[in-house]
Amino acid sequence: MIMVPKDELMKSDRQVAMVFDLNKCVGCQTCSVACKVLWMRDEGMDYQWWCTVNTQPGRGHPRDYENMGGGYRDGVPFPGIRPTREEWGGGWDFNYDEVFYSGKGPSVYLKPLGEPPTWGPNWDEDQGGGEYPNSFFFYLPRLCNHCTRPICIEACPRNAMYKRKEDGIVLRDETRCRGYQFCLEACPYKKVYFNYVKKVSQHCILCYPRIEKGVAPACARQCPGRLVFVGYLDDKNGPIHKLVNEWEVALPLHPEYGTIPNMFYIPPLAPYRLNDDGSIDESTPRIPIEYLERLFGSRVNKALDILKAEMAKARRKEQSELMDMLIVYKWRELFKPFDRDPAELQWK
């Protein structure tokens, strides 16, 4: 068995990318559930959520993943730790039999079996930050970023992970994986999971069987908020290229991790702050800019200014290409060329 050179495994000719407009996400979790029911029904996948939507500010999933290292710093691999099972949380079995069939009536209620849970995929939902009446939060959907410098692929001593040439999707060969979990340590976003039953790593596969048939990933297609764009990063006519490279309002999460992610976010505008006397303070957004800079880097300032300027244009009834793109009048235009209806497909 010949070991393919590492940089061959990490390169691709094209890249499928996604843009999430955080101004539209209401945290409905349709995306995370769509992914979950499609892919995570095998043994050992009970606690896995390849797509999660967490409230920010928040500790995320796994808990405090931003303090677990991984990624690169100044081009050098930055050692990370892998999450413990407790830091992932979730995967609970519930006492359905007791509630439905034991005849104990309302004296029992639905709850997880075993030890009381201490964390889960969306544990600190809606807690957010700030003090009333200036509390604030927004939702952040996260999945594997299918990075352009995927350190997970670099880390694996068995070359069990690789990036597809035709679309840049990062995949793994579960028959090559022996559960060493260097990928979990190395991923700075902690979006690789470990199957404790099969003893292999698992992660978001960007619905590649759907992509191959021209269908958008389940998370994107099922989003009722029309906030997920899917397309090739190099398609100059598509919204991904325009939002990321031309308008530059779509930003990577934690760019300082150095892996060059391909999932992008349009940062959230915030309501104005309220003064003690109840008047509105239009000069300060409720989401502190320092917090957004921590997540998206200093480019977030310009992105927010552009969004505000284009929104003002639209209010003045002037034409705004950006607003037209972000409003998404026609739902299918979110996904070109992956706008095929999955119901049309015949799987052999």
Binding site: M1, I151, A155, F182
Partner: protein, 216 residues
């Protein structure tokens, strides 16, 4: 190293605490950590640059056969019993390595031309041991069959492990070392201290091949 011929049934010998093993002379092997430079990814080399590799420094090995099975009794000190993946560590492990062709290099886990065979045990599957085959670092594969049986005991900071395999495995030629009474083979050992994050190529190993002779 001699695999002493003993007139005992395999069931008795499989017990790591059996007093019969005390009659088999032990060889204490000095173990050393695998070199950092041979770790096959930049991430691993960076992450382990300042960490000691190969926590277990001494391994007591007793080898025996009863004409039917070849058995190794391994004993090493390990303060923590690590047997699962749920924390930050990994299961403790041990392995016995043999060349499948005479000149297989040890440090690189064999080569394309010369394969190696390992009997590989991990504490999360205490009575199963895998038969693996490798042709270089990063190429370890489980063979379809494994006739290796394991019994283990961790007590008072010490692991005792017995690995046993039938002498006759002619149907696994090319996949596992062929041995017979009176014959010999090279052998090497490895131990993983899982609590310290040791797994894959991060391990203590016996640094060089030893000649193992099966008493005729």
């Amino acid at each position: 190293m001699l695999a002493k011929k003993v007139a005992l049934d395999s069931k008795t010998l499989l017990d790591p605490a059996s007093p019969e093993w005390e009659k088999v002379p032990a060889e204490t092997i000095n173990m050393g950590g695998t070199p950092l430079a041979s770790q096959p990814s930049r991430y691993i080399r960076t992450a382990w640059a300042d960490r000691p590799i190969g926590k277990v420094r001494f391994l007591d090995v007793r080898a025996a056969h009863n004409g039917k099975d070849l058995l190794f009794h391994l004993e090493w000190r390990d303060e923590s019993r690590d047997a699962d993946y749920s924390g930050r560590g990994f299961p403790d492990g041990a392995g016995v390595l043999f060349p499948l062709n005479g000149d297989a290099p040890l440090a690189s886990m064999g080569s394309e031309e010369a394969a190696v065979n390992a009997w590989f045990w991990q504490a999360d599957e205490p009575e199963a041991a895998r038969n693996v085959r490798a042709q270089g670092i990063g190429t370890v594969e489980d063979t379809e069959k494994s006739r290796i049986v394991a019994r283990s005991e961790w007590k008072d900071g010490t692991w005792r492990l017995v690995l046993s395999r039938p002498l006759a495995v002619a149907d696994q030629k090319g996949e596992t070392v062929q041995v017979a009474a009176g014959g010999s083979t090279k052998v090497a050992f490895a131990v993983w201290e899982g609590g310290s994050g040791e797994r894959a190529g991060i391990k203590a190993f016996s640094k060089q091949w030893r000649e193992l002779t099966l008493e005729g």
